[in-house]
Symmetry: C2
DNA sequence: AAGCAAAACATACGCTGCGTATGTCAAATT
DNA sequence: AATTTGACATACGCAGCGTATGTTTTGCTT
């Protein structure tokens, strides 16, 4: 195999890894590219060659974290047999994931501010796509009212996001998480078809 | 009256006004303080004397816009006789207000990224407070289930925010706004007490 | 196998922009 | 009227991004 390609892939991975730490700890604006690359054992030369600019690096980092999140959510949702319970579990999972500094600081705060609307990202915000598919399934099953799935997925993810910001800023994360998850379930139940209400 | 105080208040107002424009058009990070102050007929000296630093200016701008929003929402909600309809109208109003560049770019994107959680702002995010009070009223009236009002207000505002980001990035804002408002109403109806469901 | 071309990364430079330290002038106080 | 206070301007230093240029290793060609 190509030695060039492997070392380059390795360097990219190390830069992204260092960026995840730096962006999560200092925030995008305060993260120094010199420190970042030095921590990865490289210089800014490697950075601008691989990612174009600082924004490009953030985009790569966001893409990676977003993929991780979607994968984890997939597993959690798959554990539920009922699709409706799966949706609720997924929402709760997103709220909890959003408590991690990497997710919150990078994906939820700096990401939209620097890169723009999440749905326009190359990853297309995998999380959004996943919940949307789940909603479509539930509608065909007659569990939900025939709502616009993109709209519902957007609002639900937005609700989860703000819940996370709230929890992260609160003094007692556990208690607040419980409240947030309950409120999330209540809001989501507004999508239920009349026949599906227990 | 003091001449010092009046001119100082005037200068503060002019700086905030110029900042609203610059931050909305270029974003917080890309807005130059030299250009900003020059546009207001002043220099950076006035800025650092009045607001401490760039963040301080953003905080002042956010505070002003947030107050404006709350006031406008108050009027809109007051036009509705039914409290429940008032809540829905207020939500729709927030979604529409969030389409304005000043609100979206400054309050919803850069604000949280630079200043942190909105509920910790000096204005305490007036919008959040307003919806929360409305929710409390509706619960005492028996219209809503006894949900935690802070949680519900947070998630609702989060949903409205993401709806706005979605609309702003879309090609046909009108059509998307209709979908978003409908989904918002559906989610909010999840808070309704069983007896209040028509 | 040897030389060549290309690419990955390092080094060096310039420019922008924030924050601060110092200066100045008007206004309020006495 | 003199003095002091304070609002704002001017001047400086420093950090950090992006780019232009240099260097070395790799992979291909003949």
């Amino acid at each position: 195999m190509n030695k060039r390609a492997t070392t380059m892939a390795d360097n990219r991975a190390r830069l992204i890894s260092a960026a995840r730490k730096a962006f999560a700890e200092k925030g995008y604006a305060a993260a120094s590219m010199d420190e970042l690359t030095a921590a990865a054992g490289l210089t800014r030369g490697a950075l601008y060659h691989n990612f174009g600019d600082k924004r490009g690096l953030l985009a790569a980092v966001v893409d990676q974290i977003d993929s991780d999140m979607a994968q984890r959510a997939q597993q959690i949702a798959a554990a539920e047999t009922d699709s409706w319970q799966g949706l609720l579990a997924e929402g709760a999972a997103y709220i909890r994931m959003a408590l991690e500094p990497e997710v919150q600081r990078i994906v939820l705060l700096d990401g939209p501010a620097v890169l723009g609307d999440p749905s326009q990202w190359p990853s297309q915000s995998s999380c959004l796509q996943a919940t949307r598919q789940k909603l479509e399934l539930l509608i065909t099953q007659g569990v939900l009212k025939p709502v616009d799935t993109e709209a519902a997925a957007r609002l639900l993810s937005g609700a989860a996001l703000n819940a996370a910001l709230w929890i992260a800023a609160s003094a007692s994360p556990e208690a607040v998480t419980a409240k947030a998850v309950e409120a999330f379930r209540m809001l989501a139940s507004g999508l239920l078809a009349p026949s599906a209400i227990k």
